[in-house]
């Protein structure tokens, strides 16, 4: 095991873990930031999506040793008062069923909306199709992303 210093949600943390430990498990088990979820571990479901230097990344396949100086933002750091436009849209549309996939959905959408200001429906669908929602709350997720894109 090795010591790593990482910056998450603007705070610096030091952890001792195996070098190949995915960022996901550092966040969940060591930093107790459990908003980032484990779904598949192989970049197939998007539940573990975080922002690394602003880009959406699958933390389940991102080894901590590859992080270097990069800065991580998790769902816990997306806003201070649940007032990110996506979070507000999620409330408006009452999106979740079980809720387990939702932080990954929001983090994927947040990075996407930063890049595309005025996305078409099909661009939204394309951007969000990497995220699985086993409860299939897809119609609400789509509507909420549309609402947030407009605000």
């Amino acid at each position: 095991m090795k010591e790593f210093s990482i910056v998450v949600n603007e705070k610096e943390h030091t952890v001792r873990v195996h070098e190949d430990t995915p960022l996901l498990w550092v966040l969940r088990d060591h930093l107790k930031l459990t908003g980032t979820k484990f779904g598949c571990g192989i970049a197939q479901c998007g539940a573990c999506t975080v922002h690394i230097d602003g880009d959406a990344m699958r933390s389940c396949i991102y080894p901590i040793s590859a992080l270097g100086e990069s800065k991580v933002t998790t769902i816990e750091g997306l806003s201070t008062k649940n007032d990110h436009p996506l979070q507000e849209a999620w409330v408006k549309h009452d999106v979740p069923q079980c809720g387990y996939c939702q932080s990954g959905q929001i983090m994927t959408a947040a990075a996407f909306l930063k890049e595309s200001k005025n996305p078409s429906d099909s661009e939204i669908v394309e951007a969000m199709s990497g995220n699985i929602c086993r409860c299939a709350a897809y119609l609400r997720i789509k509507e909420a992303v549309k609402t947030a894109a407009k605000s």
Binding site: D29, V91, D94, A136
Partner: protein, 705 residues
């Protein structure tokens, strides 16, 4: 499982206890959506097991049943709040602790939470309201009947008023009334009015709500290594795993191994370093063998007749024409979004468990038996579940972590990897069905269903539609025993049988040259007539409600029976009636119409979400879902091999609820069964191809490209 009842003894026990300990802060999660500007609550009066009123006007309502994504943590408290006559903004919802005496049926399964809880929850609210009225009447020296309640206040006939907050300490001393009057549905102001999911603020900010998120100081992590189904461990070499830094122990639990480590990743890593040899594996079947065995069984004389009306053999032997079709179902995994997980800490004085479980009571009993300790030693704290779909009815993972903790004397959290979850499941069994119909003089005269399923000898629903519709009707079933573990998967049995039946009906309609809608309506009319002719005739559905959803969906989708692009299907399950129409645009599913009669809809915004989810879950699995076996081992390990439906494959789903004042029925499952039939019938219209097996994509690939 019985109805949820409000135990009178519980009422009496709770009555008079100014409870703070139980009500406040027993959970590691909380949800604050009640107005936060008001004064902090200092004293709580516990009115009964379900609700407490604070001196600042806030009301804490306990949501008794496990929350699995079906929305009961919001809708069950809504029912209590309605009868209590309190503003929803003043309500704080908490997940009740598991306590079978106080809350009786604490189960998430069979779509029964609301239906079975309905009266008890209403009574809990109404009883507390009555006690508040009685207390006010005593203050004002009038009769309780002269008092009225609204929005947290009791009013007297001459302008007197007192708030629930002030009355509660007096009210809890009142005798518990036994026959309270419940509201007429026309008086509802909360039920039937959309309320936001009470956990939403915590979900979208990533708060630790789920079992997977649980943490306890000093806790270690565990992972399970299972072999192929039916195999025993002969020997294993864990030396490389033990040499890995961070590994605490490797234990053998009968035919499984448990790896314990300082974090989840260490456990996952160590698992790959263990060599295991297995022996005595009885069932080395491949999926093809299982399917052949099922096909043989369903045609054999080993099936048991579950229901026979009239003389089916004679009707078939004298028929003008017989239609016979067979339908094959693959195994399915549940693939809940959160893989299986559970926390346990076993000590000499108690067994503490925390995690996502649909059946806390059953699991408590099994844990007590496993450890040979009294049930009272075992506590289970129910967390929000990252999906269930039936998988979390089975507490296998809870028993595993309890055993590990008891062996290493530490608090432990067990986490399955996706591969563990998919390959060590309790699956929807593979099945084979034969449907037969006898036609004579242009009429359907007899109908027969034969079913064979892995491990499930009750793989049919003999009293559902079309029972009662036909004079000659027979249903038989049998099981193929296997070491592959199988169990309930959202809408058990009907998740496949409905598709087979509803596709088969369209074939009958085609032979009879009538519209599929008219055939169904005619059969339902026949059920009404047959019951008039023979009042002893039994079947488990109301033909009028059934017709209601069929006619509604036909109107909404403009289904007339000749349109090329529409497929119809309808099914009754979990006491609810659902009809669906699939619309194709070219070969794409562009829209699904769905009409539902589930009685009163408690929380419309959540009900629509749930109904859409059921439709799309059913569509995804009918189109793509399959779990296959090779020598007793599961071939799909993760989502790259087991396809789940994604946003780019999802059509618009339009949900219509039939307006009703009947008591609510199930909603977590009933929209799922009809969708397979509606899809298959639409694809037939579009391609001319009938589909007899799932996943549909295997058949449609050539057509759809």
């Amino acid at each position: 499982m019985g109805e949820q009842t409000l135990n009178r003894r519980t009422f009496l026990q709770m009555n008079g206890i100014a409870g703070t300990g139980l009500v406040l802060g027993f959970n590691f999660y909380s949800c604050k959506h009640a107005s936060e500007i008001r004064a902090e609550a200092k004293e709580w009066s516990e009115m009964n097991a379900f609700l407490s009123i604070a001196d600042n006007g806030q009301v804490t309502i306990m949501s008794p049943n496990p929350e699995i994504g079906q929305g009961v943590k919001t809708s069950m408290p809504m029912i209590i709040a309605e009868e209590l006559d309190i503003d929803w903004k003043d309500v704080i919802v908490k997940q009740a602790p598991f306590d079978a005496v106080k809350y009786t049926r604490q189960v998430a399964g069979g779509s029964q939470s609301i239906r079975k809880g309905w009266t008890a929850l209403r009574t809990a609210g109404a009883t507390a309201k009555e006690m508040l009225k009685n207390a006010a009447a005593e203050q004002w020296n009038i009769l309780p009947a002269q008092c009225t309640a609204s929005s947290g206040w009791i009013h007297g006939p001459n302008g007197e008023k007192m708030s629930y907050a002030d009355l509660a300490p007096l009210a809890k001393e009142q005798a518990v009334p036994t026959d309270v009057t419940l509201k007429d549905p026309s008086e509802f102001t909360i039920i039937g009015h959309s309320k936001m999911n009470v956990d939403l603020p915590d979900i979208i900010s990533g708060k630790p709500l789920f079992g997977m998120d649980f943490y306890r100081e000093g806790m270690v992590y565990a992972s399970i290594l299972k072999g192929p189904f039916g195999a025993r461990i002969e020997r294993y070499d864990d030396s490389r795993a033990r040499a890995l830094e961070g590994v605490i122990d490797v234990l053998q639990l009968e035919d499984k191994l448990a790896i314990i480590g300082v974090d989840t990743w260490t456990c996952f890593k160590a698992k790959k370093l263990i060599d295991v040899q297995y022996k005595n594996q009885k069932t080395k079947w491949d999926s093809a063998d299982i399917s052949n065995n099922l096909k043989n069984l369903v045609r054999s004389n080993k099936l048991v007749v579950k229901r026979e009306d009239g003389d089916v053999d004679k009707a078939f032997s004298t028929a003008d024409q017989i239609i016979e079709r067979s339908y094959s179902a693959p195994f399915l995994a549940h693939n809940t979004m959160a893989p299986m997980n559970f926390f346990a800490h076993v000590t000499s004085d108690k067994v503490e468990c925390v995690g996502p479980i649909q059946t806390p009571q059953w699991t408590q009993g099994r844990i007590a038996t496993l450890l040979d300790r009294p049930k009272e030693d075992v506590t289970i704290e129910m967390t929000r579940m990252g999906g269930g779909f039936g998988r979390r009815l089975y507490g296998d993972f809870a028993l595993e972590v309890v055993e590990i903790s008891s062996k290493i004397n530490k608090p432990v959290k067990l986490v399955y990897s996706r591969e563990d979850d998919m390959t060590g499941g309790i699956y929807r069994p593979a099945s084979e069905y034969i449907f037969r119909a006898a036609l004579k003089n242009g009429e359907l005269v007899a109908y027969e269903v034969l079913g064979a399923s892995v491990n499930d000898k009750n793989c049919v629903r003999p009293d559902f539609f079309p029972a009662g519709c036909l004079q000659h009707y027979r249903v038989s079933a049998g099981a193929l025993e296997s070491d592959i573990t199988t169990g309930a998967w959202r809408a058990p049995v009907t998740n496949f049988v409905a598709y087979a039946e509803q596709s088969f009906l369209d074939e009958i309609a085609e032979e009879l040259s009538i519209s599929p809608l008219d055939l169904r309506l005619k059969m339902l009319d026949q059920a009404i007539q047959n019951k008039l002719d023979n009042p002893d005739l039994e079947y488990e559905f109301d033909p009028l409600k059934f017709k209601g959803v069929l006619l509604d969906v036909a109107e909404k989708s403009q289904y007339k029976g000749k349109e090329k692009q529409l497929g119809l299907s309808a099914y009754y399950s979990h006491n609810t009636y659902v009809a669906e129409v699939v619309e194709l645009n070219e070969m794409n599913v562009s829209k699904i119409y769905c009409s539902i009669d589930c009685g009163i809809v408690v929380n419309p915004i959540a009900a629509e979400n749930q109904a859409q989810g059921g439709v799309l879950d059913g569509m995804g699995h009918a189109m793509y879902g399959a779990l296959t076996f090779n020598k007793g081992e599961v071939e799909q390990q993760n989502f790259h091999q087991y396809k789940l439906i994604r946003m780019n494959e999802v059509p618009d789903v339009e949900i219509h609820f039939i307006k009703s004042t009947n008591d609510p029925t199930g909603l977590g499952e009933p929209t799922l069964p009809p969708i397979g039939g509606a899809l298959a019938n639409a694809f037939y219209r579009g391609t001319g191809k009938r589909i007899y097996s799932q996943p549909f994509m295997d058949v449609l690939q050539d057509v759809l490209g």
